[in-house]
Protein backbone atom coordinates (compact mmCIF):
# COMPACT_ATOMS: atom_id res chain seq x y z
CA UNK A 1 0.00 0.00 0.00
CA UNK A 2 2.76 2.46 0.99
CA UNK A 3 4.67 1.95 -2.21
CA UNK A 4 1.94 3.57 -4.39
CA UNK A 5 2.56 7.16 -3.21
CA UNK A 6 6.34 6.56 -3.14
CA UNK A 7 6.33 5.43 -6.76
CA UNK A 8 3.96 8.26 -7.67
CA UNK A 9 6.18 10.85 -6.01
CA UNK A 10 9.26 9.51 -7.75
CA UNK A 11 7.45 9.51 -11.08
CA UNK A 12 6.17 13.04 -10.45
CA UNK A 13 9.69 14.23 -9.59
CA UNK A 14 10.99 12.82 -12.88
CA UNK A 15 8.18 14.49 -14.79
CA UNK A 16 8.68 17.81 -13.01
CA UNK A 17 12.41 17.80 -13.65
CA UNK A 18 12.01 16.75 -17.28
CA UNK A 19 9.25 19.27 -18.02
CA UNK A 20 11.46 22.00 -16.57
CA UNK A 21 8.81 24.71 -16.36
CA UNK A 22 10.24 27.87 -14.83
CA UNK A 23 7.92 30.14 -12.91
CA UNK A 24 8.36 33.79 -11.95
CA UNK A 25 10.36 34.37 -8.80
CA UNK A 26 7.50 36.21 -7.11
CA UNK A 27 5.38 33.00 -7.18
CA UNK A 28 7.88 30.79 -5.38
CA UNK A 29 6.08 31.30 -2.06
CA UNK A 30 2.76 30.15 -3.60
CA UNK A 31 4.38 27.11 -5.22
CA UNK A 32 5.93 26.19 -1.88
CA UNK A 33 2.50 26.42 -0.22
CA UNK A 34 1.00 24.28 -3.01
CA UNK A 35 3.71 21.68 -2.39
CA UNK A 36 3.05 21.79 1.35
CA UNK A 37 -0.70 21.36 0.83
CA UNK A 38 -0.13 18.44 -1.52
CA UNK A 39 2.24 16.80 0.98
CA UNK A 40 -0.25 17.30 3.80
CA UNK A 41 -3.04 15.77 1.69
CA UNK A 42 -0.78 12.88 0.61
CA UNK A 43 0.27 12.09 4.18
CA UNK A 44 -3.31 12.43 5.38
CA UNK A 45 -4.50 10.15 2.58
CA UNK A 46 -1.86 7.51 3.38
CA UNK A 47 -2.79 7.60 7.04
CA UNK A 48 -6.52 7.37 6.27
CA UNK A 49 -5.98 4.48 3.87
CA UNK A 50 -3.88 2.66 6.49
CA UNK A 51 -6.67 3.21 9.01
CA UNK A 52 -9.27 2.19 6.37
CA UNK A 53 -11.08 5.50 6.81
CA UNK A 54 -10.17 7.01 3.40
CA UNK A 55 -12.89 9.13 1.83
CA UNK A 56 -12.33 10.68 -1.59
CA UNK A 57 -14.57 13.69 -0.98
CA UNK A 58 -12.99 14.53 2.34
CA UNK A 59 -9.50 14.17 0.84
CA UNK A 60 -10.15 16.43 -2.15
CA UNK A 61 -12.19 19.00 -0.20
CA UNK A 62 -9.54 19.06 2.51
CA UNK A 63 -6.84 19.64 -0.08
CA UNK A 64 -8.88 22.39 -1.78
CA UNK A 65 -9.78 24.20 1.42
CA UNK A 66 -6.21 23.96 2.75
CA UNK A 67 -4.79 25.28 -0.50
CA UNK A 68 -7.30 28.11 -0.79
CA UNK A 69 -6.77 29.23 2.82
CA UNK A 70 -2.98 28.99 2.57
CA UNK A 71 -2.84 30.96 -0.70
CA UNK A 72 -5.29 33.56 0.61
CA UNK A 73 -3.23 34.05 3.74
CA UNK A 74 -0.05 34.34 1.70
CA UNK A 75 -1.65 36.83 -0.69
CA UNK A 76 -3.15 38.94 2.10
CA UNK A 77 0.15 38.87 3.99
CA UNK A 78 1.99 40.07 0.92
CA UNK A 79 -0.53 42.87 0.43
CA UNK A 80 -0.30 44.21 3.97
CA UNK A 81 3.39 43.43 4.44
CA UNK A 82 2.96 40.83 7.21
CA UNK A 83 4.21 37.27 6.74
CA UNK A 84 0.79 35.62 7.22
CA UNK A 85 1.83 32.64 5.09
CA UNK A 86 3.83 31.46 8.10
CA UNK A 87 0.53 30.57 9.78
CA UNK A 88 -0.33 28.23 6.90
CA UNK A 89 3.19 26.78 6.85
CA UNK A 90 3.05 26.17 10.59
CA UNK A 91 -0.40 24.54 10.51
CA UNK A 92 0.30 22.38 7.46
CA UNK A 93 3.75 21.40 8.74
CA UNK A 94 2.31 20.41 12.12
CA UNK A 95 -0.35 18.24 10.44
CA UNK A 96 2.34 16.74 8.23
CA UNK A 97 4.44 15.58 11.17
CA UNK A 98 1.44 14.33 13.09
CA UNK A 99 0.30 12.26 10.10
CA UNK A 100 3.84 10.98 9.55
CA UNK A 101 4.15 9.85 13.16
CA UNK A 102 0.77 8.13 12.87
CA UNK A 103 1.85 6.43 9.62
CA UNK A 104 5.05 5.22 11.21
CA UNK A 105 3.09 3.89 14.18
CA UNK A 106 0.60 2.09 11.90
CA UNK A 107 3.41 0.57 9.85
CA UNK A 108 5.11 -0.82 12.93
CA UNK A 109 4.41 -4.50 13.70
CA UNK A 110 1.74 -4.73 16.38
CA UNK A 111 2.91 -6.01 19.76
CA UNK A 112 1.27 -9.18 20.96
CA UNK A 113 -0.68 -8.49 24.10
Amino acid sequence: MIWIPVVGTFLGLMIGILINVPFPARFDMYVALLLLSLLATLFGGIRASLENTFHTGICLSGFGSNLILALTLAFLGQQIGVDLYLAAVFALGLGLFKNLSQIVRLCMPQKQA
Binding site: G8, G12, D28
Partner: protein, 231 residues
Protein backbone atom coordinates in the same frame (compact mmCIF):
# COMPACT_ATOMS: atom_id res chain seq x y z
CA UNK B 1 -9.13 0.86 -5.35
CA UNK B 2 -10.28 4.39 -5.98
CA UNK B 3 -8.25 5.55 -3.02
CA UNK B 4 -5.12 4.10 -4.53
CA UNK B 5 -5.60 5.99 -7.79
CA UNK B 6 -6.26 9.20 -5.98
CA UNK B 7 -3.24 8.80 -3.71
CA UNK B 8 -1.16 7.98 -6.76
CA UNK B 9 -2.41 11.10 -8.53
CA UNK B 10 -1.76 13.30 -5.50
CA UNK B 11 1.71 11.76 -5.14
CA UNK B 12 2.44 12.47 -8.81
CA UNK B 13 1.26 16.07 -8.42
CA UNK B 14 3.38 16.45 -5.31
CA UNK B 15 6.36 15.06 -7.17
CA UNK B 16 5.80 17.40 -10.13
CA UNK B 17 5.60 20.46 -7.89
CA UNK B 18 8.62 19.26 -5.93
CA UNK B 19 10.48 18.73 -9.17
CA UNK B 20 9.66 22.27 -10.26
CA UNK B 21 11.04 23.64 -7.04
CA UNK B 22 14.12 21.44 -7.35
CA UNK B 23 15.10 22.72 -10.75
CA UNK B 24 14.64 26.38 -9.95
CA UNK B 25 17.99 28.13 -10.10
CA UNK B 26 19.35 28.59 -6.62
CA UNK B 27 21.21 31.77 -5.79
CA UNK B 28 20.06 33.47 -8.98
CA UNK B 29 18.08 36.67 -8.74
CA UNK B 30 15.05 34.89 -10.17
CA UNK B 31 14.86 32.70 -7.06
CA UNK B 32 15.29 35.51 -4.58
CA UNK B 33 12.45 37.38 -3.03
CA UNK B 34 11.48 40.86 -4.04
CA UNK B 35 12.72 42.22 -0.74
CA UNK B 36 16.22 40.90 -1.36
CA UNK B 37 16.13 42.30 -4.89
CA UNK B 38 15.00 45.65 -3.62
CA UNK B 39 17.69 45.61 -0.96
CA UNK B 40 20.32 44.80 -3.56
CA UNK B 41 19.13 47.60 -5.80
CA UNK B 42 19.12 49.95 -2.82
CA UNK B 43 22.62 48.83 -1.92
CA UNK B 44 23.79 49.45 -5.48
CA UNK B 45 22.24 52.89 -5.49
CA UNK B 46 23.77 53.73 -2.12
CA UNK B 47 27.17 52.47 -3.24
CA UNK B 48 26.98 54.67 -6.33
CA UNK B 49 25.96 57.59 -4.14
CA UNK B 50 28.82 56.88 -1.72
CA UNK B 51 31.21 56.77 -4.68
CA UNK B 52 29.92 60.09 -5.99
CA UNK B 53 30.15 61.62 -2.51
CA UNK B 54 33.70 60.34 -2.09
CA UNK B 55 34.64 61.82 -5.45
CA UNK B 56 33.17 65.19 -4.58
CA UNK B 57 34.81 65.01 -1.15
CA UNK B 58 38.26 64.42 -2.63
CA UNK B 59 37.58 67.19 -5.15
CA UNK B 60 36.70 69.65 -2.39
CA UNK B 61 39.66 68.53 -0.30
CA UNK B 62 42.06 69.20 -3.15
CA UNK B 63 40.34 72.54 -3.74
CA UNK B 64 40.74 73.41 -0.07
CA UNK B 65 44.41 72.40 -0.16
CA UNK B 66 44.89 74.58 -3.24
CA UNK B 67 43.21 77.52 -1.51
CA UNK B 68 45.34 77.09 1.61
CA UNK B 69 48.49 76.81 -0.48
CA UNK B 70 47.53 79.89 -2.50
CA UNK B 71 46.68 81.82 0.63
CA UNK B 72 50.00 80.91 2.24
CA UNK B 73 51.90 81.80 -0.92
CA UNK B 74 49.96 85.02 -1.26
CA UNK B 75 50.59 85.97 2.38
CA UNK B 76 54.27 85.10 2.11
CA UNK B 77 54.61 87.09 -1.11
CA UNK B 78 52.84 90.10 0.41
CA UNK B 79 55.03 89.93 3.50
CA UNK B 80 58.17 89.69 1.40
CA UNK B 81 57.03 92.66 -0.67
CA UNK B 82 56.30 94.67 2.46
CA UNK B 83 59.65 93.70 3.92
CA UNK B 84 61.41 94.81 0.75
CA UNK B 85 59.53 98.11 0.83
CA UNK B 86 60.40 98.64 4.47
CA UNK B 87 64.05 97.78 3.90
CA UNK B 88 64.12 100.12 0.93
CA UNK B 89 62.53 102.93 2.95
CA UNK B 90 64.84 102.29 5.88
CA UNK B 91 67.87 102.51 3.62
CA UNK B 92 68.98 98.92 4.14
CA UNK B 93 69.33 98.21 0.42
CA UNK B 94 71.64 99.48 -2.27
CA UNK B 95 69.87 101.89 -4.61
CA UNK B 96 70.59 103.13 -8.07
CA UNK B 97 68.91 105.66 -10.28
CA UNK B 98 68.96 109.16 -11.64
CA UNK B 99 70.09 111.91 -9.33
CA UNK B 100 72.53 114.62 -8.46
CA UNK B 101 76.19 114.49 -7.53
CA UNK B 102 77.33 117.27 -5.21
CA UNK B 103 81.10 117.55 -5.04
CA UNK B 104 82.54 119.58 -2.21
CA UNK B 105 86.14 120.53 -2.89
CA UNK B 106 88.53 122.57 -0.79
CA UNK B 107 89.60 125.98 -1.96
CA UNK B 108 93.22 126.22 -2.98
CA UNK B 109 95.07 127.00 0.23
CA UNK B 110 98.83 126.57 0.47
CA UNK B 111 99.07 126.19 4.24
CA UNK B 112 96.19 123.95 5.05
CA UNK B 113 95.84 120.32 4.23
CA UNK B 114 93.26 117.73 5.26
CA UNK B 115 90.46 120.21 5.33
CA UNK B 116 87.22 118.70 6.69
CA UNK B 117 83.75 119.89 6.17
CA UNK B 118 81.87 120.94 9.32
CA UNK B 119 79.09 118.78 10.56
CA UNK B 120 76.63 121.66 10.89
CA UNK B 121 77.10 122.41 7.20
CA UNK B 122 76.41 118.82 6.29
CA UNK B 123 73.31 118.81 8.48
CA UNK B 124 72.04 121.95 6.83
CA UNK B 125 72.81 120.54 3.40
CA UNK B 126 70.81 117.42 4.24
CA UNK B 127 67.91 119.50 5.53
CA UNK B 128 67.87 121.48 2.31
CA UNK B 129 68.01 118.31 0.23
CA UNK B 130 65.11 116.84 2.17
CA UNK B 131 63.15 120.05 1.85
CA UNK B 132 63.58 119.91 -1.96
CA UNK B 133 62.33 116.31 -2.01
CA UNK B 134 65.47 114.31 -2.51
CA UNK B 135 64.65 110.61 -2.21
CA UNK B 136 67.84 109.18 -0.73
CA UNK B 137 71.17 110.65 0.20
CA UNK B 138 74.63 109.25 0.82
CA UNK B 139 77.53 111.37 2.02
CA UNK B 140 80.75 109.74 0.86
CA UNK B 141 80.17 106.05 1.51
CA UNK B 142 77.70 106.62 4.34
CA UNK B 143 74.02 106.16 3.61
CA UNK B 144 71.85 108.68 5.42
CA UNK B 145 68.84 107.24 7.21
CA UNK B 146 66.56 108.53 9.93
CA UNK B 147 68.94 107.01 12.46
CA UNK B 148 72.12 108.44 11.03
CA UNK B 149 74.02 110.41 13.63
CA UNK B 150 76.13 113.45 12.73
CA UNK B 151 78.92 113.98 15.18
CA UNK B 152 82.23 115.75 15.27
CA UNK B 153 85.11 114.06 17.01
CA UNK B 154 88.41 115.98 17.19
CA UNK B 155 87.15 118.26 14.44
CA UNK B 156 86.61 115.28 12.15
CA UNK B 157 83.01 114.74 11.12
CA UNK B 158 81.56 111.29 11.82
CA UNK B 159 78.44 109.89 10.22
CA UNK B 160 76.95 106.57 11.35
CA UNK B 161 79.90 106.33 13.70
CA UNK B 162 82.42 106.37 10.84
CA UNK B 163 84.79 109.27 10.15
CA UNK B 164 84.38 111.13 6.89
CA UNK B 165 87.48 111.59 4.73
CA UNK B 166 88.95 115.01 4.18
CA UNK B 167 87.78 117.11 1.27
CA UNK B 168 87.04 116.55 -1.55
CA UNK B 169 83.79 114.84 -0.64
CA UNK B 170 80.93 113.71 -2.84
CA UNK B 171 77.28 113.70 -1.79
CA UNK B 172 75.09 111.30 -3.78
CA UNK B 173 71.46 112.29 -4.08
CA UNK B 174 68.69 110.21 -5.67
CA UNK B 175 65.86 112.24 -7.16
CA UNK B 176 63.33 112.15 -9.97
CA UNK B 177 64.08 115.76 -10.99
CA UNK B 178 67.89 116.24 -10.86
CA UNK B 179 67.89 119.47 -12.86
CA UNK B 180 65.22 121.08 -10.70
CA UNK B 181 66.98 120.00 -7.52
CA UNK B 182 70.24 121.39 -8.83
CA UNK B 183 68.70 124.79 -9.53
CA UNK B 184 67.08 124.81 -6.10
CA UNK B 185 70.25 123.76 -4.32
CA UNK B 186 72.39 126.32 -6.08
CA UNK B 187 70.63 129.04 -4.14
CA UNK B 188 70.23 127.05 -0.96
CA UNK B 189 71.50 128.50 2.28
CA UNK B 190 73.52 125.43 3.17
CA UNK B 191 75.56 125.71 -0.04
CA UNK B 192 76.24 129.36 0.80
CA UNK B 193 77.46 128.29 4.22
CA UNK B 194 79.77 125.70 2.67
CA UNK B 195 81.20 128.22 0.25
CA UNK B 196 81.68 130.69 3.08
CA UNK B 197 83.68 128.01 4.84
CA UNK B 198 86.22 127.91 2.01
CA UNK B 199 84.74 125.04 0.02
CA UNK B 200 83.74 124.82 -3.59
CA UNK B 201 80.43 123.15 -4.29
CA UNK B 202 79.94 121.65 -7.73
CA UNK B 203 76.64 120.00 -8.69
CA UNK B 204 76.21 117.60 -11.63
CA UNK B 205 72.99 115.80 -12.60
CA UNK B 206 73.76 112.13 -13.32
CA UNK B 207 71.73 109.38 -14.89
CA UNK B 208 73.21 106.64 -12.75
CA UNK B 209 73.84 107.37 -9.11
CA UNK B 210 74.43 104.42 -6.82
CA UNK B 211 73.96 104.62 -3.07
CA UNK B 212 75.39 102.05 -0.65
CA UNK B 213 73.16 100.36 1.92
CA UNK B 214 73.04 101.44 5.54
CA UNK B 215 75.59 99.11 7.08
CA UNK B 216 74.90 99.62 10.81
CA UNK B 217 72.47 97.69 13.03
CA UNK B 218 69.11 99.39 13.30
CA UNK B 219 68.32 100.33 16.87
CA UNK B 220 64.82 99.22 17.84
CA UNK B 221 64.28 100.37 21.39
CA UNK B 222 60.52 99.98 21.49
CA UNK B 223 60.24 96.77 19.50
CA UNK B 224 60.76 93.16 20.44
CA UNK B 225 60.79 90.00 18.36
CA UNK B 226 57.39 88.34 18.11
CA UNK B 227 57.50 84.76 19.34
CA UNK B 228 55.89 82.18 17.10
CA UNK B 229 52.23 81.71 17.95
CA UNK B 230 51.84 85.01 19.78
CA UNK B 231 49.40 87.61 18.55
Amino acid sequence: MKARYLLFAIAVCTGVVGGWLLIQPVGDNAFEGETVLELRQLLDREQERALALNESLSEYESLLADYQHEQKAHTAAAMEETLEDLEKNAGLTDREGGGLLIRIKPEEHPYETDQHVRVEHLRRLLNDLNRYEAEDVAIGHERITTQSAFREVNQIPHINGNPLPALPLTVYVLTDEPAELKSQMQVAESVQWLENDRANVNMTPAEAVSLPAFSQELRMQHFSANEEGEK
